[in-house]
Symmetry: C2
Subunit: 438 residues, 2 copies
């Protein structure tokens, strides 16, 4: 029994996917039973990085998702539409779907998985998070026997590249972003990456799998790296930290009610140099999963790129093919679906408001160089139950004294209230930066 | 449909496995369909770390593997016998098997998988390598679409603990081994760990999965860490390296014949500080997989311990349960077996002799403090086509001069021939250490 794949999109990842499917030698033997039957493109005449038989190519994407001969539709178009509609049509036609489209899954996962469960098909998305790194499958399978406590990741390669260069070169954000754009590591409009939106999409997907519930993307707190300065990186280094854009999903160490809540947040973070994520540099991604009883495991690898992402896409195709050839047949009803591949949860996770989050904070202030300022700051934080680890005047500039403060663990609400009062102090010229500490 | 598990062994990992199975709340919903039906122990009256219903416990291990009600036999006895015989009997009875027994699989994998394929059952072994780290499943599934080029790992926690402490404390092997034994990180008879035999078992298993062929354990070169000294660690650090016990399986960059060969070796290795494995410390394990087109991915986590290893065991049980409940039925014939769970390869991999391996070398020599020694060494290496990166007299001791040499990439045969000649030089008191460089 052969499996026919219909591929939507022949960009970077689509080309990589086609290359693997057309060249099975030396790979998993199951690939020999998989045929690239149809490839949908926007322009038939564009030069290709991979040679596709002419009778496979079509500009009629809809004909692929409705083709009775196609078993698995692989959506690699990117963007919200027509990707979402084509995925839903493929599902309605009883096709299994593989997608790398984090934006569509993070926004329309609810609709898509409900439709997939009704139609009895699988929707797999290993390539949507962490490029080639196998993390979705392990979360659904090997790690699922644990009570997951937290998933913490560096899951945006562009921002990790920028922060790594800022760290190495002592440079500021803007010139390094410009250079990253010139080198192709950042897009012309970099906001999805540098403002943390891409990482928010991805952590919503990881949290949904790790904690077995659906996530409203609007409830993921997201803060980018534009405000991280060379000075912050230098001070952080002196304190034994590196600054990384982390995406964090963790069970909230509850308040008084017993309803389980999740923390979901993306923000620059001071990471202790000894933490496994601290040495993940350049465009690499890494995801740390903590659970009971496994403890802490980390997955590390290339977070993007043609080859790695295509590897993840094809691994999903092979996973579906394996269930199809192993006697389970093409009809997968909700009753016969493999529970490690299907996505069956229906409820929404309750997400904690940021005000309830407990973390440590790093703050850099510019103040008038006057006696008594540090005492006044300490008192104000104390009034709001914010306990400090250190408060250090780090230097004198033309515009006054620079003061770096690191707090112990405090609630976001108490910390921000204290900071609002401090902003109004006549001695304080500005709060130059506020960064959470892992 | 419920799945009944028969557990053989209630030691550390057995207790951890029972704890997860008896406490499914908050874990994968499939665990609720899995029942711990029978538990085989050597002594009924021993105090337990987990409460097992009395009617589940038995000292008659054979009654478990022949019990018609048992679907999955979980072998956690350790050691070769009766583990091997009980696994084979379970298979003959049509039971699926989960094992953490690297020693049995590395030695009798051939016999066991042949029997399993004939009987149409699965034998899963995630816990045999890397404790809780999901690495077997990803190798069989997500990474299988790649052409794997190399698997390189720190897969023995005891030796990594000892080397990490030697590195941090500047101490020598023997006293730190003694301390590790006192603390329970090394066994009373430490040879399986410190002589590299445990790592050899594990790399044989990983290589078999990564390269799709069976491995003769006797063909895995294995060298332990007893001869690594504090001096070597210090010199390595000065050169930008840390010393790790690596297990390496890689496609051999062929000679003139086109037969594909594998390199399979366990030995202490100078690892560049920038390599992801260099920062894997203490009892942690990590495995780097390199393939085309994925590039390099790394899996990191706790390589042993009750909780992590039990997590891996239960993930295998759940994997089998998933195929059983998803309509595939209890009868898995070779034709209907899920090709991502089954182990179907039958041929043996051809393993390169060590003499053909190409690597860099670090050598520490003790020589008479005479002029001309360094020139003589350089000439001798040159005569055997061994090109050197550096040759440095690092100090003068009572017994002469200490010389540290680092070579470029050379064949093992050429290097060892040169070294044999050098050993016979009247100026050379001893070759204190020879360590390969990654």
């Amino acid at each position: 029994m052969g499996i026919n794949v219909g591929l939507l999109g022949l960009g970077t990842v689509g080309s990589g996917t086609a290359k693997i499917l057309l060249d099975p030698e030396g790979r998993h033997p199951l690939l020999r039973q998989i045929t690239l039957a149809k490839v949908g493109v926007r322009n038939l005449d564009k030069p290709r990085r991979v040679e596709i038989p002419a009778d496979c190519l079509t500009m009629d994407l809809e004909s692929i998702v409705t083709d009775p001969a196609v078993d698995v539709v692989v959506e690699l178009l990117g963007g919200l539409e027509p990707a979402r509609s084509l995925i839903l049509k493929a599902i309605a036609q009883g096709k299994h779907v593989v997608t790398a489209n984090k934006a569509v899954i993070a926004r329309y996962g609810d609709e898509i998985f409900t439709a997939a469960n009704e139609a009895g098909v699988y929707v797999l998305l290993e390539a949507a998070v962490g490029g080639g790194i196998p993390v979705i499958q392990p979360l659904k399978q090997a790690l699922g026997v644990n009570r997951i406590q937290a998933v913490t990741g560096i899951i945006n390669g562009t921002t990790n590249y920028i922060l790594t260069r800022m760290q190495r070169e002592g440079g500021d954000f803007e010139p390094i972003l410009a250079d990253a754009q010139r080198l192709g590591y950042a897009e012309a409009d970099p906001s999805a990456d540098v403002d943390g939106l891409d990482a928010a999409d991805k952590i919503a997907i990881l949290a949904s799998l790790a904690f077995g519930g659906r996530i409203k993307l609007s409830e993921v707190y997201s803060e980018g790296i534009r405000h991280v300065s060379a000075a912050d990186i230098t001070y952080a280094k002196g304190l034994g930290f590196v600054i990384k854009l982390l995406a964090i999903a963790r069970r909230h160490a509850g308040g008084e009610d017993s309803v389980e809540e999740l923390e979901l947040r993306v923000h620059p973070t001071l990471v202790p140099e000894s933490h496994p994520l601290a040495s993940v540099n350049d465009v690499y991604n890494a995801i740390v999963v903590e659970g009971e009883p496994i403890g802490q495991v980390m997955f590390f690898g290339p977070g993007a790129g043609e080859g790695p992402t295509a590897s993840a896409v094809v691994s999903d195709i092979v996973n579906i093919a394996a269930t199809l050839v192993s006697g389970q047949g093409r009809e997968v009803t909700p009753k016969t679906a493999n529970p490690l591949l299907a996505c069956s949860h229906q409820h929404y996770c309750k997400v904690s408001p940021m005000a309830d989050i407990v973390s440590r904070f790093y703050v850099r202030l510019l103040a008038k160089d006057e006696p008594g300022v540090i005492g006044k700051l300490g008192l104000c934080f104390g009034d709001h139950a914010v306990s400090l680890e250190s408060i250090v005047q780090t230097g004198i500039h033309d515009d006054g004294a620079e003061i770096v403060i690191v707090s112990h663990e405090v609630t976001e609400a108490n910390f921000q209230t204290a900071l609002d009062e401090i902003r109004a102090f006549p001695e304080i010229a500005s709060v130059a930066s506020v960064i959470r500490v892992l």
